[in-house]
Subunit: 439 residues, 2 copies
């Protein structure tokens, strides 16, 4: 069956993915002379940079995600569809989704990236990724659950498994998680678990390279290492996690760590959809695009953001997979489409690096601006301000701000709740399948 | 194995359930000369009266639940254990839980009540109850999911199944859910789903008796009926839902309603734990207790709240199963235990009815005070104030207040998010089982 979208004489642009890139594109095409269909598996845009704070019980999911429908409420030419895309049919210019198929004149793939376990099935099944809200909440529950269980374990070695945590990946996410775990151990757990000796809790951060925050300046790398070790995080460089059986973590050099929780922030891989020729798929599972974001070998299909692999002279290996690139590509493509209707050409895309930053915790962050690098309290304020500012929606800004102030003043996070999803009986589940189920 | 709780020379009081009754009891026994062990399956106390607002996307779970550990952080004689109780062993004065067993000198059963499907397995599997946060969130997701799906359904009759909702039970919960669904249809859906004809959405409220809010005054009953019908809710009295196959709802009089969602707020039944003699179990699956909350035939086991069936002259059938009774019994029992150590007797428990209230929506509520009954805007303000005031924790009060003001001013609820829990691979699940799994 066909997804029910009103026919119009406007050309139809279908965007897959409401992340930073896809959302920006749809916003910039609002009120334009195109019919825009934005498809996402979620009914909200999620602000990934703050996932780790949800996992650490510092923020509510609702504070860092924003309902897509709310955003486009009054915009006549943008249609939201919440469903999974199953396949792309470039020849017939048609998309197959769980709700049915939809035709397009132009297709923009903004599906982003998934966690990369480098083909290690065991890790994929047992390590905890951080690429979705569901995963962030799962991690929150796991951490709290395991502390509760640890209370009834008298055997030291066995208890270690429940309370120690291994974070894999020295990028911003890994650094931020390790940092806030260390602060949780320092400020919150001793109050919540007076019976527990919190000095027993070990937090490991494993990075395969010889420095943290690869891609940022050496000052940032050194300072973040310094901050983390001061917080008591055991930073392990030049090593890799090779196996994890759910109880023991095995490292490349043979050392073993006893931890039931491995947080995997070690890499991402493009979220490719079936239907495109494999020649278009480059390193890192990214779609090779030209300087106009057009997918190699395709005339009407474009890719932006983490999934796109565009080579600029300054970036021979493609751009870094960060929100900035995605948003700039989204803006660029919107402009290109509008100009097209006016018969105007656009310059090839060129990425403008606005800098990067990461926070380690209270009063501690590192910021690299194109020609200014600084760390510490001011960097932390800048980090807070930039992230607060980038959040979609006034309510979110207000809520996050209140929570941050609250947590800062009280040295506390109020959201230490293990909220378990309702287990649905299979019989009931059927009734939630959707229209095609009744066809 | 044994739950690891420090030995002490204090008598040990074990409380099962951190609801209104159990929490009150533990609070009043803080700093007393008893060792108190509070056991709950959740690590938080939940404020059930506002569940429906979570389901209706008006509030965040975290705003109406409060971490038990946070509440008892500085209290030396109260121990929290988060686990499921499996059985009571009155003879050996011992409790079996998923974390191991624990001995008690005195046991207080404050397990409350579960949804009562009156033995109808089909309804139990397919209707949606409202007795836990997980269920409230599930309902929120179901409602939003189904509206998304409805957009792609061109067939009118089939679409009805996805957008119509049947609420069963004319008590406060049923009335409040039906009311807020009607407001969602009126204020929010037309903005979010401009493509949908919201007048197609039918909201039914089914009540077996001949009036709503049984137990409240006739004025309250009449006014709430009036409010609901004005909001466009189809209130069906003197009828019952007898069957629900996930697609069609069958009523006692044979009429059928097309709805995939049946919200079940039609009754509760005591949450009995195995181990007690069946003679102690009275009507409604409640434990028969004397005027001192002592379970019939038991010397050291007590029951309070929804699970307790105590007969007073004024309440020959037992007390209403509401928070007030549970809290008063909790207070009473704490006093009784303290007096016991002082060798003092306490009077038999006597319930003091402080009145009851329910809200139908914006500016509309009904309040019955012992000698004053009123409805409308002022009643609504009273309702808001009382519920805000009863919430545990300053942060919760602040957050709920902000949300209420926000929703009131914007005619909007910002939390329309379908956040799906992470699906955990069975292999991974093992590692979350807890210590006994490794034994």
């Amino acid at each position: 069956m066909k997804i029910n979208i009103p026919e119009s004489n406007q050309e139809r642009i279908v965007i897959i993915g409401g992340g930073f890139g896809g959302l920006m594109l749809a916003r910039k095409l609002s009120y334009s002379n195109y019919q825009v269909v934005l498809i996402d598996r979620n009914n909200y845009h999620q602000f990934q940079p703050l996932f780790y704070q949800v996992a650490m019980a510092g923020l509510e999911p609702s504070s860092i995600v924003f309902p897509l429908r709310k955003h486009f409420q009054k915009i006549p030419n943008v249609y939201i569809r919440v469903t999974e895309v199953e396949a792309i049919d470039p020849v017939n210019k048609r998309l197959q989704t769980q709700l049915g198929h939809v035709n397009f004149d132009h297709l923009i793939i903004a599906t982003g990236a998934n966690t990369n376990f480098f083909g290690n099935a065991e890790l994929e099944h047992k390590a905890i990724p951080m690429k979705s809200m569901g995963e962030a909440l799962y991690l929150r529950n796991r951490i709290l659950d395991d502390y509760e269980k640890a209370l009834s374990i008298t055997d030291y070695e066995q208890r270690q498994g429940f309370i120690d945590i291994v974070v894999v990946g020295g990028g911003p996410t890994g650094v931020e998680i390790a940092g806030s775990l260390a602060e949780m151990r320092k400020y919150i757990l001793p109050k919540d678990y007076p019976e527990m000796d919190c000095s027993e809790i070990d937090i490991y951060l494993v990075q395969s390279g010889d420095k943290l925050l690869k891609g940022m300046s050496d000052e940032a790398a050194a300072k973040s290492y310094d901050f983390l070790t001061k917080l008591g995080v055991k930073v392990i460089l030049n090593n890799r996690v090779t196996a994890f059986d759910g109880e023991w973590v095995t490292m490349k050099d043979g050392t073993k760590l006893h931890a039931k929780k491995v947080i995997w922030a070690a890499g991402i891989t493009g979220a490719i959809l079936p239907g495109l020729s494999t020649e278009a798929i480059g390193p890192g599972n990214r779609l090779i695009v030209d300087r106009h974001c057009r997918v190699q070998g395709q005339e009407h299909i474009y890719a932006i953001g983490d999934i796109a692999l565009m080579k600029e002279d300054a970036y021979p290996e493609g751009h870094p997979q960060v929100a900035q690139v995605a948003m700039q590509m989204g803006k660029y493509l919107a402009k290109a489409f509008k100009n097209k209707q006016k018969g105007r050409e656009v310059q090839p895309f060129a990425y403008r690096d606005l800098g990067s930053m990461a926070t380690v915790g209270r009063n501690r962050a590192v910021v690299d601006l194109p020609n200014w690098k600084f760390q510490g309290f001011f960097a932390w304020l800048v980090w807070l301000f930039v992230h607060l500012f980038q959040l979609l929606g006034t309510r979110n800004k207000v809520m996050v701000f209140i929570n941050w102030v609250w947590n800062y003043i009280t040295y506390d996070q109020a959201l230490r709740l293990i909220i378990r999803p309702r287990i649905v009986h299979p019989a009931a589940e059927q009734t939630t399948k959707g229209p095609d189920a009744n066809a």
